[in-house]
């Protein structure tokens, strides 16, 4: 039996009064600058927008949907009551072990940073997924953007000509505007489903360039008519989607059949396929790429499930980190691997683990991240965090800072309303930053 920590002690890093004061100072000092602006969607301070445009940092965000078990991955507790059947194995960092289901990851551990002291609030998917993806900010009556939309807005599309936020996933593709929240649909995600390019991406052979130009003129005329009586964000989004399609038409090679050697290294699995596409998107200059894996909600048969899930994650994750490293891209690409929560230490009757936001792990590497930083800890049987617990707000601050964004002094401007980009009651986790 282990003692539950007091909820009031969850975030000792935070000093609410201090954060509020800083924010008030900032608001007072920058009021004249907080006007709707054109640069990056008209939603950020212009000086900041100019600075961000010059940075070409990128993000590869690996979303393990449903909840990877921390005990079968980053924070094993072998031979304990809740430890499960698996052994732990040493890594390239002396004294640090991971589950035996991650043999490849164990060999690149020195390139990663892992926080084993993650403690969040939501134990349901419906609440946890959006709140984690939005950084769980205070409720200000607006819907905050997912991290990908936030980065697309704050850092812009870069120079690739490609959409700033691409979501590579199993299932359907399309344009997923919902992630953008108050930023508006333009900052939604272009989803690549099942590794397939958006349909009809190539011009019909029967369409000449002249006819295509005429067709575009007609479309632009119609768009202007449409825009005149509607809020600009809708027509902006519509034009954005069209421009995105045009850009992708020029980059059809992103969807060419992969090199069989790459398939062998990444794994002939949906995650291997999507991770490989994700790498290509990053190489092509997409600002934010989310690679999604589904099927991790292992309420039943958790251990047999992780016995096949984890090695496939291990293979694809290790391959992409090694590739980015070999290409020198970890200097400017932030890589994050996470779920919406971890899984219960308690093993239920169906040999499953349920949802557990109390004590879990997040892994990362790349730009701005201190490689080999394995921070945070849980108690001997993995039930509670024993180090300073880190909520998702801390990670948003950390990742923004890793990307060169001062998360404590940068704001969105939503119809004149200044909004912090990350929970002002949290702060960057300095141990994770290089």
């Amino acid at each position: 039996m282990t003692q539950s920590p007091n909820n009031s002690e969850r975030h000792p890093l935070c000093n609410t009064a201090e954060h509020v004061f800083t924010r008030r100072q900032l608001l007072g000092g920058s009021a004249t600058g907080l006007i709707g602006l054109g640069g990056l969607g008209g939603l950020v301070n212009p000086l900041f927008a100019k600075e961000m445009k010059s940075k070409e940092k990128q993000v590869l965000f690996i979303w393990i949907d449903g909840g990877m078990s921390q005990l079968e991955s980053w924070d094993p507790k072998p031979n304990t009551q809740f430890g499960g059947p698996f052994r732990s194995i040493p890594t390239t960092i002396p004294g640090i072990h991971v589950s035996e289901l991650m043999p490849k990851t164990s060999q690149i551990m020195h390139k990663l940073a892992v926080d084993r002291g993650v403690s969040t609030f939501d134990n349901s998917h419906s609440a946890g997924v959006p709140r984690i993806n939005r950084g769980d900010p205070k409720d200000r009556g607006v819907i905050y953007p997912y991290f990908g939309s936030a980065v697309a807005n704050l850092m812009g599309p870069g120079n690739s000509g490609l959409p700033p936020y691409v979501w590579v996933k199993p299932g359907s593709g399309g344009f997923k505007y919902q992630d953008a929240g108050f930023l508006g649909p333009k900052f939604g995600a272009l989803a690549i489903g099942e590794g397939e390019p958006p349909p009809n991406i190539l011009l019909p052979e029967t369409l000449s360039s002249t006819n295509n130009a005429d067709r575009n003129s007609l479309r632009e005329f119609a768009n202007q008519q449409y825009s005149q009586k509607r809020p600009p964000k809708f027509s902006e989004a519509q034009n954005f989607v069209y421009d995105t399609a045009q850009a992708l038409m020029q980059k059809r090679s992103l969807f060419d059949n992969p090199d069989p050697k790459d398939v062998a290294r990444y794994g002939d699995t949906p995650l291997g396929r999507d991770m490989l596409i994700g790498r290509k998107m990053i190489e092509a200059g997409v600002r934010f790429v989310k690679v999604n894996s589904y099927g991790w909600d292992t309420h039943g048969d958790n251990f047999n499930a992780h016995a096949s899930l984890m090695p496939r994650f291990d293979q694809a994750f290790t391959a992409v980190v090694e590739d980015l490293d070999e290409r020198g891209m970890l200097d400017h690409v932030l890589v994050i691997a996470m779920s919406e929560f971890g899984r219960t230490p308690r093993i239920n009757g169906h040999i499953g683990r349920d949802h557990w936001p109390e004590a879990w792990s997040i892994a990362m590497t790349g730009t701005g991240i201190k490689q080999g930083a394995i921070i945070g800890s849980t108690n001997d049987d993995g039930t509670w965090v024993t180090s300073e617990p880190h909520d998702i707000g801390h990670f948003f601050h950390t990742w923004f800072n890793a990307l060169g964004i001062d998360s404590e002094h940068t704001e969105y401007i939503n119809d004149g309303q200044p909004l912090p980009i990350a929970d002002e009651e949290c702060s960057p986790i300095r141990e994770l930053l290089s």
Binding site: S4, P78, R87, A305, S308, F313, N348, G349, H350, G352
Partner: protein, 354 residues
Amino acid sequence: MNNIQYKAVAAPSTDRQLFNAKFSHDGKLLIAGSYQGDLRRFELTEAEPTELTPFGNHHGWVQAFALHPTENLLISGDSWGKLQAHDYTQENPMPLWSLEDAHDGWIRSVAFSNTGEWFATCGMDQIVRIFQTKNGKLRHELKGHNADVYHVLIHPHDDSIVSADALGNVIHWDMKKNRPKRQFDASETFLAHRLQDVGGVQCMTWSPDGTTLLAGGTRPKNGATVQGIPILIGFSWETTERVFLKELGATSDCYCEDVAYHPRGFLMAVTSGTPGTGKIQFLDSQNLDTAEPLFLLSNLSNCHSLDVHPDGDMIAVTTTVRGSNGNGRKVDADGNYIGNTSPIQLLTPDSPMK
């Protein structure tokens, strides 16, 4: 046969979850592997089962163990690959021999030959191994599975070895050539869903006359929170042809976790589903197509194994605590995190079986 009625008489449990409760040959002990590195025993000679000293000094989970057919000897394998032999009747059983790395990782199943001279094991390393009982010396190594091997079984007449894996492939081994001799197709128990390998053969047994091989599992519908219809597939031992497929419930009932023939001839199966669904049912083995089971007990929670007492009456079913599933923190009044346990349901017939 049509009026079988069983009732629960006791439900011993320990401070840890348990696997595969089995009766000793004399019926005086009930033995189970634990989720934390040992084996647990209950003495059944008193009115209430009494827990005896745990033994085993294992690691991880002790899912796999078997009792010697004639001696007070138990072979146990753990999820880290360790094998041990013990006299389970001793007050504080000490290992007679021990193999730290008998397999690379999780040992899933142990089965004795008919004389007990040797035994077979299988596990996560996809290998079936044959060891000498008296000293643990390796005699054979059988490679041919392409997945975690979940179950190994010895034929009651000629010591033929069959093993079944996570992909639903059942292999009859040629012991002279150390390679597969015949294969039985139970792939209906497997589904590749997203990244996950779902299902596989969870249990096997022989018909009493040795002519039919039964493989149990689920017909998976999806991975993650696995759902599927529990099924039993019967194969002709002579031809490898499928001779029956019996569905044992609905999608929520999920896995057929264990199956056995009762000495009186009927077939018994237990199922475990989500959340907390568990059933034991007795089937007329001569009329498996009959819709209604001879006996059905559906108020148990997650039934994982069954065994019949040597007296032919009492049955032990390893279950779990109702309501043991659930998200988030479950703490007691003192703030202590609550684990799970595995009550072993002891059931007896309303009147002695004849």
